[in-house]
Symmetry: C2
Subunit: 190 residues, 2 copies
DNA sequence: GTCTATAATTTGATAGAC
DNA sequence: GTCTATCAAATTATAGAC
């Protein structure tokens, strides 16, 4: 055997990482197998020894990318729910996140493509998204609004990325930040 | 002249309408010129007598689609801000909207593709989006949160479309509806 | 104004050498 | 496991007939 054990797994993770960045930046469907492999310093022929099809890569990408977001959320240093959420909101609703899709959350970038993908991929997306939701429901001060808060963050980054003016990008994310903070400060008296 | 005056403009609007539905349903980049023209009962050769390029169609599509959403918002029958917003939230955050992207708002469907498009298209998107924002800022009870409310609605439909389970789709949009209504009921005491 | 035909690329995927 | 070479299909766009 000319390659070490574990080499293939390592290479696969490498492809997933560079492909994830590329897909978030320029879209999954807009990027060819050639493009993904080029980003991993390989040629397209080698692709199919790691994935059975381009669709297979998409599924693996959704899984690993949402997994990466969840890992970040799990490393949130704060204990009390208020501070925990405040930390995540500020990280997510930032100009840095808006301007660097390749390093950010997969949801604003690829959720629309997931909604058009086959049942297998949507299933995978749903499973991983539920994991993320549970983390928010456990740590956020108001579990009933965990989905709403996630939606708010995702939608804000999505729209802010679509506009050109930097001032407007800031206005959009700051409006969302202000609304979420107002909601939480008021104690969410239903 | 074998064709009536105004025939071309009419045909162009027809192409925009069917192309808009198709693009919202299956993505703009995923659809070929052939596909768009087939939906309008024409062949791809005729496309270029209406648009200079596929990119030109995208720009026209963004303009007409956001314009169509704004028209809907302008036809909201309610006068007082509270009822006006309540009406729009219920329309937007509905299972019907989640399940029929081809008939719905363009933002959850195509905003990610806009964020990857050229400056010309983003400019057009920004201009139209600002018009929509102003309508919300004028009619919604809290202008400072107009962007936040738009982001909330867009993000909710986006994520709800990505998951498979209908119960979960409902949970997502209902969480957002509940959060927005709580916020407004509490008088938005900042 | 729309058609058919076609040019030039790009795409997802396979085969075989090393 | 990765490479080069290659294929069949699909893509954007143009040309010329009606």
């Amino acid at each position: 055997m000319r390659y070490k054990a574990g080499y293939k797994e390592e290479k696969r993770r490498e492809i997933l990482k560079t492909s994830g960045e590329l897909a978030k930046k320029q879209g999954f469907n807009n990027t060819g197998v050639d493009g993904f492999m080029h980003a991993a310093n390989m040629t397209s022929g080698a692709f199919y020894s790691h994935f059975s099809s381009k669709n297979d890569l998409f599924k693996a990408l959704i899984e690993s990318e949402i997994g990466a977001s969840i890992q970040q959320w799990e490393m949130n240093p704060h204990q009390d729910p208020e501070s925990w959420l405040d930390f995540e909101m500020n990280r997510y609703l930032s100009l840095l996140h808006v301007q660097h899709p390749e390093k950010g959350c997969v949801l604003p970038s690829l959720a629309a493509e997931v909604s058009r993908a086959d049942a297998d991929i949507k299933q995978c997306f749903e499973k991983e998204l539920q994991r993320g939701y549970k983390l928010f429901a456990q740590h956020a001060p108001e579990p009933d609004f965990a989905w709403a808060i996630l939606c708010q963050m995702v939608g804000s980054v999505l729209l802010a990325r679509g506009v050109q003016d930097e001032r407007l990008k800031k206005d959009i994310i700051n409006s969302s930040l202000a609304m979420l903070k107002t909601l939480l400060k008021n104690g969410i008296a239903k």
